[in-house]
């Protein structure tokens, strides 16, 4: 059985119950890792955690530093960081540079280094709040934390997010000019041994990213492309809009109607299961001709990215993306437009699965 087939995913009243009765109990000692970003959702989870009286609480606030961040966004990030520090008194702030000289992407490496230096002793539950963390940072972070949980069987690893697709769509990254694997997610891409593998690329389509997609396509150089379309999704015409916007590209890549992969916009486990199934099928099919290599490129909503993340972790898949050198907020992404928090939780490792470990 796949690792996260029975993944505990909570939201709404079930999540409240979990916060009140599990995380909120005095036996727990929480470490919240969150982004102190300009993203209006930066503080929603921290606020909920701060409201828990009983458990011990500590926070590590990550400031993603990008060279091209406009000062307005920086100021917003300052405000959020200060607020986070106030919410969780026992907290530290760490700057994570996303780029090094010459626009080389180093955010993942830096966050891994940062987490490698942390002392997790005494912590029972790590909550990684990805609401205001970017793909290049939270992917390696999750890998690091799961590694920690391997060593420390008592440790619980949770991913939490204030999920608002509209906010995600409203935040437009200014792309770096190179496509790179996410740190720690090279998944054998580029090795000679995988050079003759059948290559499939699963890009998640989002509006207005033609050049980014082309850049990744060039880097991945796939034999086949199966774009991921969000469906069902809040805007049921979105798949049509995406197909229309990327018509020329899809035609050039010989993407047939049957190539599209659908994934529910708000359910990471749906995409996770779909990818794993696809990967396994291709493994079998292409074993005879040398092997198969499936590359992922998450984009857009946070929850769907988590789906890619879980699949990549489980099957050691390469994840190739274009890091953002900065952001522009368009239309609805501003602070005022952020809706009421809609928290979603995934329990990735720990006590929830002890029973399964024993029966496995």
């Amino acid at each position: 059985m796949n690792r996260w087939n029975r993944c505990v995913k909570l939201e709404g009243s079930a999540l409240e119950d979990f916060f009140d009765n599990y995380l909120g109990s005095s036996e727990r000692s929480l470490l919240l890792i969150a982004g102190g970003g300009f993203d209006p959702r930066s503080t929603s989870i921290a606020r909920r955690v701060a409201a828990m009286g009983a458990p011990r609480k500590r926070a590590l606030i990550i400031r993603e530093e990008r060279p091209g961040a406009p000062s307005k966004l920086r100021e917003q990030a300052d405000v959020h960081t200060a607020e986070l520090s106030k919410l969780i008194a026992d907290s530290s702030v760490a700057d994570v540079p996303i780029f090094a000289e010459g626009n080389a992407v180093v955010g993942g490496r830096e966050v891994a280094k940062l987490l490698g230096q942390q002392d997790f002793s005494g912590v029972t539950d790590i909550l990684l709040d990805i609401s205001a963390l970017s793909t290049g940072v939270f992917f390696p972070a999750v890998r690091m934390l799961l590694g920690e949980a391997e060593r420390n069987r008592k440790l619980n690893v949770h991913v939490v997010v204030d999920e608002q697709p509209a906010t995600d769509y409203g935040i437009v990254g200014v792309a770096s000019d190179r496509a790179t694997p996410v740190h720690g997610f090279k998944g054998r891409i580029g090795l000679d041994e995988t050079g003759s593998h059948a290559r499939l690329w699963l890009p998640q389509l989002v509006l207005h990213r033609r050049q980014t997609l082309e850049r990744i396509h060039t880097a991945v150089s796939p034999d086949d492309v199966c774009p991921i379309l969000p469906f069902p999704c809040a805007n049921p015409r979105l798949p049509d809009q995406l197909v229309e916007e990327y018509r020329e590209m899809l035609e050039a890549w010989k993407v047939d109607v049957r190539n599209f992969v659908y994934a529910a916009e708000n359910d990471p486990l749906d995409l996770y299961a779909t990818i794993v199934r696809l990967v396994d099928t291709r493994e079998r099919v292409f074993a005879a001709v040398g092997g198969s290599l499936v590359t992922l490129s998450p984009a857009g909503g946070k929850l769907l990215s988590v789906g890619s993340l879980l699949a990549a972790l489980e099957r050691d898949l390469p994840v190739v993306f274009v890091e953002s050198v900065g952001y522009e907020i368009t239309g609805t992404g501003s602070e005022s437009a952020a809706g009421p928090p809609k928290l979603v939780h995934l329990w990735l490792e720990g006590e929830a699965y002890d029973g399964r470990r024993k029966t496995r």
């Binding site: 979990f18 469906f231 029973g355 029966t359």
Partner: protein
């Protein structure tokens, strides 16, 4: 099919300039291929673009652009692949959580700690076997559902329709008891599945005279005895629709609760409604925002389509059954809640002769 001819016909019908026809041809080719041509009713030689040419001709020249724009900008077509995804997603997203919370309750643990229990897998499998899946119409795609879950659900727990005879009911119970090697085993939950709910009135409504009717009521009344003979005492009814209108979302639950208050023991004790895709409110045809096309629905209308079933939904069917005004097409059929200009076909003896873009097949059950 000669695409060139169709394009020329479209050019004639729409009187477009060179650039527009070139641009629209690209769109037409793309969307026909991506979705529209797969509409179940289409035949070789007469697919979407041919239908579109025919459909547009029912409008006067000056009205055609607005009609075209409505299709181009508002239509929501749930393709086969999308429908299949809604079906595939049904089990993990809607069945499993129900099973998890019911099993957790049985074991007396929080649902998030269910998998911490060594007995969880076993209990989960048991609960799953005690679940019955029943199709509410031929749109429920029970075949697809079965295929998507062939390792999880056995054929003996799927009924493609609610209209089965008593002996079939006996069969499924016997199979359950054989499978579980337990002569007293009963089902503990049902999932009723259907493709779409628009106004909710076909599902459940109270007639003017105060009597309750609709698919749910019929299910309750057909063999009232089975609910005690085949089901555990606190069994749950789960009703799932792959697609639902914004109107039905919420309203259906409220109506069902009203029925419980009125019907008491003649109704279900535990029920919940779930939906795969809830259409947003703003897809509905709006008198102000879509004024031009709204006027078309007034002017190009043949009241002959208002059969008895239609009248249940409201005064006219200009914006479809129940005046839902939806722009929705499902790959296998068009709901009657969609704007009737999209699907209606009449001979026009006494009024406008309506031509369908996506002809609707009448359902028999």
């Amino acid at each position: 099919m000669n695409e060139d001819l169709t394009i020329r016909a479209l050019e004639q019908v729409m009187k477009w300039d060179d650039e527009t026809i070139a641009k629209e041809t690209i769109w037409l080719r793309l969307m026909s291929h991506f979705k529209y041509d797969s509409y179940r009713d289409y035949l070789g030689g007469v697919r979407f673009s041919e239908r579109l040419v025919d459909w547009l001709q029912q409008f006067r020249q000056e009205d055609r652009q607005a009609a075209y724009d409505y299709v181009r900008q508002r239509l929501i077509f749930v393709s086969y692949a999308e429908m299949q995804h809604l079906v595939n997603w049904f089990f993990p997203a809607f069945v499993e959580p129900v099973l998890v919370s019911e099993v957790a309750m049985k074991l007396g643990v929080s649902r998030y700690l269910l998998w911490n229990q060594e007995s969880a897998e076993r209990e989960f499998e048991l609960a799953l076997r005690k679940t019955l899946f029943v199709g509410l119409s031929d749109g429920a795609r029970m075949d697809m559902l079965r295929r998507a879950n062939e390792k999880r659900i056995s054929n003996e727990q799927v009924l493609v329709t609610t209209q089965v005879n008593e002996s079939k009911w006996q069969d499924v119970l016997n199979e359950l008891r054989v499978d579980l090697k337990d002569d007293t085993a009963r089902f503990s939950r049902v999932f009723l599945v259907d493709d779409f709910v628009g106004s909710g009135k076909t599902l459940l409504r109270r007639e003017d005279g105060g009597t309750w009717t609709g698919k749910l009521k019929k299910f309750r009344d057909e063999y009232p005895g089975i609910f005690t003979s085949h089901f555990e005492a606190n069994w749950t009814l789960n009703v799932h629709h792959y697609v639902c209108s914004n109107e039905a979302f919420g309203r259906v639950q409220a109506t069902a609760e009203e029925a419980r208050r009125e019907l008491g023991s003649q109704w279900f004790d535990n029920f919940r409604f779930t939906y795969g895709l809830v259409l947003p409110e703003d897809v509905r045809l709006d008198r102000d925002r879509d004024a031009t096309f709204w006027a078309h629905t007034e002017n190009y209308y043949d009241p002959i389509i208002e059969n008895e079933a239609m009248r249940v939904g409201g005064k006219t069917a200009k914006r479809g059954f129940g005046e839902c005004g939806l722009p929705l097409i499902l790959e296998h059929n068009t709901p009657n809640n969609s704007v009737s200009l999209l699907w209606a076909e009449t001979n026009g003896e006494n009024a406008h002769r309506m031509r369908p873009l996506f002809r609707r097949a009448q359902r028999h059950w």
